[in-house]
Symmetry: C2
Subunit: 284 residues, 2 copies
């Protein structure tokens, strides 16, 4: 496994496999790797001949009040995980390598970045789409891997790739959950033991929503209210949104008669937690 912090070197290393027609996979991460990331890496190793993992806590996707400084950076552990799972190249640039001068150029996906997390995190998706564009241009992958846990991010990235004709495939892998259903996230480590238990309310609530839809509910407002009620049983949980939206447009659905994404964001102590499930109400 080779590790570099420079754009020039990662470009040099990618040239021979590209010229040889080998399939290059990229797993873009902010580090603090967990089993969710590992499932992305394993999928990449399965599908690609060369696997690159980027570790970069991207400053431009954090708001001024957000957790950029305290975001975990367990560098050595991350490298060990990559090594263990067959990663070929780790790209771990510094902020100044990625943004060597004032960044004037932004990739901006409009519309679908406004609801859900876009409402409370202005500029977040602009940072994500810009840094992903940069990583795609630096590494030149044939395929890049994202997690369904960040459902809006996955939809936004897919739309960006389609709109801008980026020459790569986007693969979205299922959310990885703990035994009690909590979606694995680097931010879970901000939680105390009690908060960690309370956090399971989110997945319980999502499952309750799924049950209602599968039992034939057609009114998204009723489902939404029930999901919120389950989360509210934990008094410490502050709901940011519970939304039933179209998985492509991310606009609220008026009636449950097709694929629907139930998406939740909530604050619990120091952590902002998000989760979602995709339900096909036609199959109910």
């Amino acid at each position: 496994m080779r590790v570099t912090g420079t754009i020039e070197e990662v470009r040099q290393w990618m040239a021979p496999p590209r010229a040889a027609g080998q399939r290059i996979g990229l797993v873009p991460t902010m580090g603090a790797l967990h089993v969710g990331h590992v499932s992305l890496i394993e999928e990449a190793v399965k599908r690609c001949e060369v696997v690159v993992v980027s570790l970069f806590v991207n400053p431009t996707q954090f708001g001024p009040e957000e957790d950029f400084n305290k975001y975990p950076r367990p560098f050595e552990e991350d490298l060990a995980i990559c090594q263990r799972h067959g990663v070929d190249v780790v790209f771990t640039p510094s902020p100044s390598e990625m943004y060597p001068r004032e960044n004037l150029t932004w990739v901006n996906v409009t519309g679908i970045t406004e609801p859900l997390c876009g409402r409370s995190r202005p500029g977040h998706f602009r940072g994500v789409t810009t840094v992903c564009t940069k990583l795609f241009n630096i590494v030149g992958p044939d395929v890049a891997f994202f997690g369904q846990k960040d459902a809006q991010q996955a939809t936004v990235i897919r739309r960006m790739v389609a709109d801008l004709n980026m020459p790569l495939e986007i693969v979205v892998c299922p959310t990885f959950r703990q035994g009690d259903g909590l979606a694995v996230s680097s931010r879970n480590q901000y939680l105390s033991a009690q908060q960690r238990k309370d956090a399971t309310a989110i997945y319980k609530a999502l499952q309750e929503g799924r049950r209602m839809i599968e039992a034939g509910a057609v009114d998204p407002i009723l489902v939404c209210e029930r999901v919120e009620a389950v989360i509210r049983r934990v008094p410490a949980m502050q709901i940011e949104y519970v939304s039933l939206v179209d998985p492509e447009t991310l606009q609220p659905v008026q009636r449950l008669d097709g694929a629907v994404l139930i998406a939740v964001a909530a604050r619990l102590g120091p952590a902002r937690l998000i989760d979602n499930i995709l339900v096909d109400s036609r199959s109910s």
Copy 2:
């Protein structure tokens, strides 16, 4: 020479030369090719093993009141010019091939797109940078060629490529001028015979600016006033701007002690004309 209107086909055609390590050059144009474009094509043929010319009147870079509909589209003549000058592939997509659905994703260069032409053409550069990103992603060139006549566009594209780590080189070729100094432009054909004569005032004025700087002028305001005065000798000419700016930042210079771009935009009858010269005031 091969001609296609589909993204899929141009991608297929580019794969073998790319795999063979051949250098691919792209000349992005809106068609209505003239000797200025030909100089770009010749430079591309000189430097690259495969030359692609795109002919696409890009709707997203025109304002609602601008000349999108009347912009000349002499398709057969354009193909003949490409053929004659050794172009390998002409990519001539329809608007619906390039924008098959509502376009949600924009590449936006901030700051340097605001002065000069940005002031009177809001959204213009956003359209240019977005379509160039799409063309770069479709063709995958090693190098793309632009004209110095559109100085702000060239600076904006260069900055976009640097900021987003796009894996290609940008070559900017000198402005091509008629014998009387008028910068060649597709929009010159909107001019009547009298207007065509009057239009030469712009280059005369730019040369007057150069003479002042080479004679030691240090105050950009004085130079600006003289340039404007020369243009105003043609009563029909409506000046949009005359600016002395830093060639990289496009911000007005306070004192003439380095490289400076003298940039002009003016309306003359049905045409909006732009021109510029680069002067190094240190060499005076």
